[in-house]
């Protein structure tokens, strides 16, 4: 008796389910933790007052890495709790979606580190670029996540463009922000946005999983 059809049906089911599966981890708690970390990092950055580009840009790259690790740790914990794989097909797709923008953001920061500009506030110049790249990443991830992530991504893209325009206009008039203010801004924009969206998700996601 032929059983090829059974195998074919299983393949069809698997393909369709993988294509459709939406990333189901509850992002509310993750966003809140990342938001609080960002805000705390802004306060600490302002307190440390790291003026040269290398430690200041390095500091914020470090903060980004810490936030990423926190997010991965929390997502892994949820996956273990639900007896599901951490590196699931939706997780893979989300990572593939955010990778190019994250890579571009990291590369954009490198010249600021290696040129060792002492006078220019590197973080102020990097901030809009990182906002735009981060917005691209969130928008791409939004295709495999709940709808709100695309809007969240758009918020960062538009915010980044706005900040860039403000910097250009400000520089024209000789206005420049202090290093401490820039650190507050970095923490406020990235941390504040994540915290606000995280709180919104906490009140709208049902239970641990968004499913």
């Amino acid at each position: 008796m032929h059983t090829d059809w059974a195998l074919e049906n299983l393949k069809t089911i698997r393909t369709l389910m993988e294509r459709t599966a939406v990333y189901r981890r509850a992002m509310g708690p993750v966003m809140v933790v990342v938001g609080v970390t960002g805000l705390a990092a802004g306060a600490l950055g302002a307190f440390l007052n790291l003026t040269p580009a290398l430690p200041n840009v390095g500091y914020w790259i470090g903060v980004a890495v810490v936030c990423l690790l926190e997010a991965c740790w929390m997502i892994r914990r949820q996956a273990l709790k639900d007896a599901e794989s951490f590196w699931s097909p939706p997780m893979r797709r989300v990572m593939q979606a955010v990778a190019p923008a994250f890579f571009a953001g990291a590369v954009a920061g490198l010249p600021f580190v290696f040129l060792r500009w002492e006078t220019v506030n590197a973080v102020l110049l990097l901030m809009p670029a990182w906002m735009v790249f981060y917005g691209f990443a969130m928008h791409s991830a939004g295709f495999f996540m709940p709808r709100g992530f695309k809007l969240f991504g758009w918020g960062f893209v538009l915010g980044g463009v706005g900040v860039f325009a403000a910097i250009i206009l400000g520089a024209k008039d000789g206005f420049w922000l202090s290093n401490q203010t820039v650190n507050w801004l970095m923490g406020g924009i990235f941390g504040g946005a994540h915290l606000a969206y995280g709180l919104y998700l906490l009140f709208t996601e049902n239970g641990g999983n968004a499913s």
Partner: protein
């Protein structure tokens, strides 16, 4: 070969048009009618007909609402549908296992 699994196959799910619908809904929490139609490249009539069959079997639930003042039909699997789909997959796996024979 043991014919029992073949006899147990759920005929409602085991149909060329309905199996993809069940697969999509098993992976997504819910899905709009238009999204499903576009993903599966089905006509409105064809999809409606299959959804009706699945609904009558108690496997699928439909919810009607409005988004931006336009009607929105959302489809989702019922607990019975999820259970039946899991049983269907188990049967397929059993058939494949038995065909391959003991290792």
């Amino acid at each position: 070969m043991n014919p029992k699994p073949f006899l147990q196959i759920d005929r409602v799910i085991h149909e060329k048009g309905r199996l993809p619908i069940m697969s999509l809904l098993a992976a997504a929490t819910d899905m709009s009618f238009t999204e499903m139609r576009d993903t599966l490249k089905m006509t409105d009539g064809n999809l409606s007909m299959h959804l009706k069959t699945l609904q009558e079997a108690g496997f699928v639930a439909l919810a009607k609402s409005y988004r931006r003042q336009r009607p929105l039909t959302t489809c989702m699997l019922t607990p019975a549908g999820r259970k039946a789909f899991a049983a269907y997959i188990d049967l397929l796996e059993q058939i494949v296992r038995e065909a391959r024979g003991p290792k």
